[in-house]
């Protein structure tokens, strides 16, 4: 690896070019347009090539950050992507959606004094370069073992398991409930943040390697988990995500105009309803929109509503700015696009007209009290502060839970108190022989990279099992 002398930081962090806010808020194209080679190399040259790189410790899958960055500075982009692939199967995705500021970039030595190296942007650059100019050559594949693995769910964790196990010579079948593969990457995260083309290419790459993809298969309904073993699968990985929408349970919640973020984003992304009536699935168009919550899901919903032609879009969140869980980049982009933030505000009641349509939302002002179990200061209502926000569309993005569809039909799978599957954090083994689980269905809603990390560990453990036994 090229060693660079402790270079002083001169070059500032290279911003990635992006569509101007007043243009992009009317289209669904990707917001940041990507580094040029010059920008990428300028940014890469900022990395100090630390001997004990703290950034790597911040990455859940320990990407060799100085390694791939130095390959970019040397102009060896193919080497850079190979280096990335050895730890991370979906760099084009992670470069775009990882919460870098609390992971790799948050730990970068340069972040202490100034601005961190743009690890995510560089990762995206290497992956995009490969997609555009790479050979598309398939990775080497071990001789066939004759073992068969079923992967349930085609989100990032399932895709990772499939990729790892096909390379090790096993036969892999992905079973996906939706009509399209990709999990949250296709139904949740919008086109303007993660073009669906990228996900489709990643899936295609797996299929070219021999992974068998079967959509429209709802495990627990179309077939049970036990039936998969009857069909001679030797091992099963469950990566079914945390797709159960949570509502606020406040009066009036079933009025027309109140949707879960899952429904709203599925209509917009998976069903492409933003092209309605060119496509057949409609989506409600709000003039005055409120989004409840302040995570990535909320930002995505708010920015989608803006693009669909809302006059105003408000994020309504019961805690304060500091507690907002979304990636900093998304909050920043949302602000630029004119999304308003109503913080320390909590809805208590929906109001509708005589034909059942939402017309407004009654809210309370909150203040921060003592810290709660999560260590964040608990929001408490301010007496007599009730006020009304007029709105015709509310998107509820206050979190999600475990969908019981599969687990209910598999009684011998141990669940934790919230209904998530209990699995060994190191291996992904569940309490049921031959069954592994990982990603959001084990941890609760988390991140793409954590779901992939869990997939990689499980793939190793499945491979051991298929080689040596349980």
């Amino acid at each position: 690896m090229a060693k660079r002398p402790g270079q002083k930081e001169k070059t500032p962090r290279q911003a990635m070019p992006e569509q101007p806010a007043d243009v992009r808020k009317h289209n669904f194209e990707e917001v940041p347009t990507g580094y040029t080679i010059e920008l990428a190399q300028a940014e890469a040259s900022r990395c100090l090539q630390c001997k004990k790189p703290s950034c790597v410790a911040g990455c859940p899958v320990s990407v060799d950050i100085p390694g791939f960055i130095s390959l970019i500075t040397m102009g060896d982009f193919t080497g850079a992507i190979r280096n990335l692939w050895s730890k991370n199967a979906l760099p084009a995705v992670c470069g775009r959606v990882c919460p870098q500021e609390i992971q790799c970039e948050g730990r970068c030595i340069l972040a202490r004094k100034g601005e961190a190296v743009a690890v995510g942007n560089l990762e995206r650059f290497a992956a995009d370069y490969e997609r555009a100019y790479g050979s598309g050559a398939l990775p080497p594949k071990a001789p066939a073992t004759g073992k068969r693995v079923a992967v349930v769910g085609s989100g990032p964790s399932g895709l990772t398991v499939a990729g790892d196990l096909i390379a090790k010579g096993h036969e892999v079948t992905i079973l996906e409930a939706f009509h399209k593969p990709g999990g949250v990457l296709v139904y949740g995260i919008p086109e303007f943040r993660l073009p669906k083309e990228i996900v489709a290419q990643e899936v295609n790459f797996l299929e070219r390697q021999g992974v068998n993809l079967e959509c429209n298969q709802v495990v627990g309904r179309t077939m049970t988990l036990d039936e998969l073993f009857e069909q001679n699968f030797d091992a099963v990985y469950l990566g079914v995500g945390a797709g159960l929408p949570r509502f606020m349970n406040i009066p009036g919640e079933n009025l027309i105009g109140i949707l879960s973020a899952n429904e709203y984003l599925t209509r917009a992304n998976l069903m492409k309803a933003y092209k309605y009536p060119e496509v057949d699935t409609p989506i409600p168009i709000g003039k005055s929109v409120c989004v409840l919550g302040a995570g990535n899901v909320a930002m995505d919903a708010a920015r989608t509503a803006m693009r669909l032609g809302a006059d105003n879009v408000r994020i309504v969140y019961r805690r304060s700015e500091d507690e907002m869980p979304a990636r900093k980049a998304e909050i920043h982009h949302a602000r630029e696009e004119g999304i308003e933030f109503h913080l320390l505000t909590n809805p208590i009641n929906y109001i509708g007209d005589e034909i059942g349509r939402l017309t407004g939302m009654e809210c309370l002002k909150m203040e921060l009290g003592e810290p709660d179990e999560s260590g964040r200061r608990r929001p408490v209502p301010i007496e007599g502060s009730a006020f009304l926000i007029a709105c015709d569309l509310v998107i509820v993005a206050v979190g999600s839970g475990a969908n019981p569809l599969l687990t209910q039909s598999t009684p011998d799978l141990t669940l934790n108190q919230w209904g998530y599957i209990s699995a060994d954090p190191e291996t992904g083994k569940t309490t049921k022989r031959g069954v592994w689980a990982g990603g959001d269905i084990v941890t609760g809603a988390a991140t793409v990279i954590l779901a992939m990390g869990a997939g990689r560990k499980a793939a190793d453990s499945i491979h051991d099992y298929l080689t040596w036994g349980w």
Binding site: V218, N254, T266, N403
Partner: protein, 277 residues
Amino acid sequence: MFKIVRREEMAQGTVILNEIEAPLIAKKANPGQFVILKAHEDGERIPLTMADTDPEKGTITIIYMVVGKSTAHFRDLAVGDAYQDVIGPLGKATHIENVGKVVCVGGGTGVAVLHPITRAMKAAGNDVTCIIGARTKELLILEEQMKSASHDLRICTDDGSYGRKGFVTEALKEVLDDETVNQVVAIGPVPMMKFVSKLTKEYKVPTMVSLNPIMVDGTGMCGGCRVTVGNKTRFACVDGPEFDGHLVDYDELMLRLQAYGKEEKECYEEYCTLRDA
């Protein structure tokens, strides 16, 4: 791809039957369950109940009324054409048990949904009376099939053009007055289920209805299908589609079915104009 192997028109072409190749689903389905179908790449996901299944042949049968753009598109599919996606079986299967006397009440295309349930109720040893209704004679479907699925079939039309004149609720009231009924199953337009449930509540007869809210995924992940049953929010695609008829908030369901009314009407009209042009 899911090929159509048989197609029939009923009720003057307003109701269509498709028998579709879907071996995995056919093997697994039970009465009361539904599938979600999507005709083509940009199509909508449409829930329809399986009116019949043939596990040996590997086919399922759907019967649907043409009401909007997507069902109009389905109508244009011929034998040999295929649905791009069929997902299922979804929802809970009907609880079938020998309870004694059962009355099955169906209206409109609800009769198609009712048919496999009626047959199963009879096969379980129940004494089954069946009451089916339509606005007028030409719109009545599955008369022969319902006759053989039950012990006693009664027909009502709103205009008196066939069977007795009047609503199914009137015929049901007669049966309830004459005999001890242990269970009623009512499937049809929401107002019909509402009034049947109102009546059977007076007679304290347990009543099961099958609800048809707007759905997207059909697996419990969007919440678009939420209905209020016994003052609790339930997801019809996973908790239902069948519920205790005495506890359902029908007025809310009727309003919610209109959520996309305006957009869909425009879309349908545009589709028809294009198609007829």
